[in-house]
């Protein structure tokens, strides 16, 4: 099996940093690439959404959101009891895995396109919808169980839901994905046509550059593996497999095609490293951000890119056309 070339860019970045190259992407480029990817994925989804009857899409969307909210509830007890993490860390990591990784999704799409597997083109809608619920549930878990368990320095007052909702729903990734969806939906294919060389033509190349950067970032965190310990490394491999299978099953149950179910599996299996870290840092400051980042970005992300995506596709194929 040949690796998708975008993954080679990840490996190049990883190797460069691992061997201590002085290659660095300017921070402004990193931000630009991530803004571009979020917006382009949203636009793509919005354009496709306009073509489909809401009656089909809405139940699937509701199922995807519900799944995103439930996944942290599975992850949390494992982290707490098997991994013996404190309540804050367990809740934060669970929230990262409830949310989704936009870039893993994009690589999943590229995987299907290369194999000419069809999928529901409005899948980017689910990316936008699944970003938030997992994070919210993670925060709730921290508030409910964490406060008793951990040595909180502060007497924590009642949760400021308004501020929190603001933090999450107006975070850059939700705004760009959601805004892109809305613009794409409103403008339609013909409206976006003049912008398609930028937003659609360059997409794959920009994804490659972003993966180069993510390789650099992931390799820079290798030193933190020790701090994460073997449990979290195992967690970072096993969770996506389980969640990926759940995602495929939910996809099947809601009538998605093989390709669509694969992508729902990819979303379930992926862990957020744009929206979730930012939100968690504010909402659960007691959680150690190193642990969630090493697990999500250092373990699960490369696992999904290389082994996970083909695996979820295989599961979808066998499940849906057995």
């Amino acid at each position: 099996m040949r690796l998708d070339p975008v993954i080679l860019f990840f490996l190049l970045g990883f190797a460069a940093r691992f061997w201590d190259s002085d290659l660095k992407l300017p921070e402004a480029l990193y931000e630009t690439l991530s803004i571009y990817l979020l917006l382009a994925i949203g636009l793509k989804g919005g354009v496709e959404l306009a073509k489909h009857p809401m009656g089909t899409v809405l139940p699937q969307a509701a199922a995807a959101m519900a799944m995103g909210a439930c996944l942290p509830l599975l992850a949390y007890p494992a982290l707490r009891h098997l991994g013996r993490l404190n309540g804050f860390d367990a809740a934060s990591i669970a929230g990262h895995y409830g949310s989704v990784s936009v870039v893993t999704f994009a690589v999943g799409v590229s995987f299907l396109v290369k194999r000419e597997v069809a999928f529901e083109e409005y899948m980017p809608l689910f990316v936008a919808l699944m970003e938030v619920p997992g994070i919210v549930v993670g925060i709730l878990l921290a508030r409910m169980t964490g406060s008793a368990a951990a040595p909180a320095v502060l007497a924590r007052p009642a949760i400021q839901w308004g501020a929190l909702a603001h933090e999450i729903f107006l975070g850059k990734s939700v705004v760009l994905l959601g805004g892109g969806l809305a613009i794409g939906w409103f403008a339609g294919p013909s409206g976006l046509e003049p912008m398609s060389p930028l937003f659609f033509g360059l997409f794959k190349g920009v994804l490659a550059l972003f993966l180069l950067e993510m390789g650099l970032v992931a390799a820079a965190r290798i030193g933190d593996f020790r701090r994460a310990g073997p449990f979290l490394i195992g967690f970072g491999v096993i969770t996506p497999v389980l969640f990926g299978a759940i995602g495929v099953l939910v996809g099947r149950a809601t009538g998605l095609s093989v390709g669509g179910a694969t992508l729902l599996g990819v979303l379930a299996a992926s862990a957020s490293y744009i929206a979730a870290p930012a939100a968690m840092r504010i909402a659960i400051p007691e959680a150690n951000p190193t642990l969630s980042i090493v697990t999500a970005l250092g373990v699960t992300f490369p696992f999904n890119l290389t082994l996970g995506i083909p695996l979820y596709h295989e599961i979808a194929r066998r499940l849906i056309f057995p």
Binding site: E31, V153, E286
Partner: protein, 100 residues
């Protein structure tokens, strides 16, 4: 040159704190602030600004000694347990004391 003594409070910390630090500085009486993007390292490891989670800022506040104390004690109490933050205070002379 007719100068007046003030304090310069410098706060170095995670980018995630920026809006809170600005809000707090104003609340405790600072009339202004200046922020630069930085990278660095300390007891919480290396923060290379290679990625949004590792961005850091350096915030300067010129103010009266009481304001500097109030801000820095607030930061110590509220953020230092859970966030990467460094702080120091130094003496400066300004020309227009009413401004700061």
């Amino acid at each position: 040159m007719n100068t007046h003594p003030k304090k310069l409070l410098v706060l170095i910390g995670e980018y995630a704190l920026e809006k809170f630090l600005i809000r707090d500085a104003k609340r405790f009486g600072a009339h202004g602030y200046t922020i630069a993007d930085v990278r660095g390292g300390g007891s919480h490891g290396t923060r290379e600004a290679d990625w949004e989670g590792s961005r850091s800022i350096r915030m300067e506040v010129i103010c009266d000694p009481e304001v500097a104390s109030a801000i820095s004690e607030h930061v110590l109490r509220n953020y230092c347990a859970n966030y990467s933050v460094s702080m120091y205070v130094t003496d400066v002379a300004v020309l227009r004391p009413e401004k700061f």
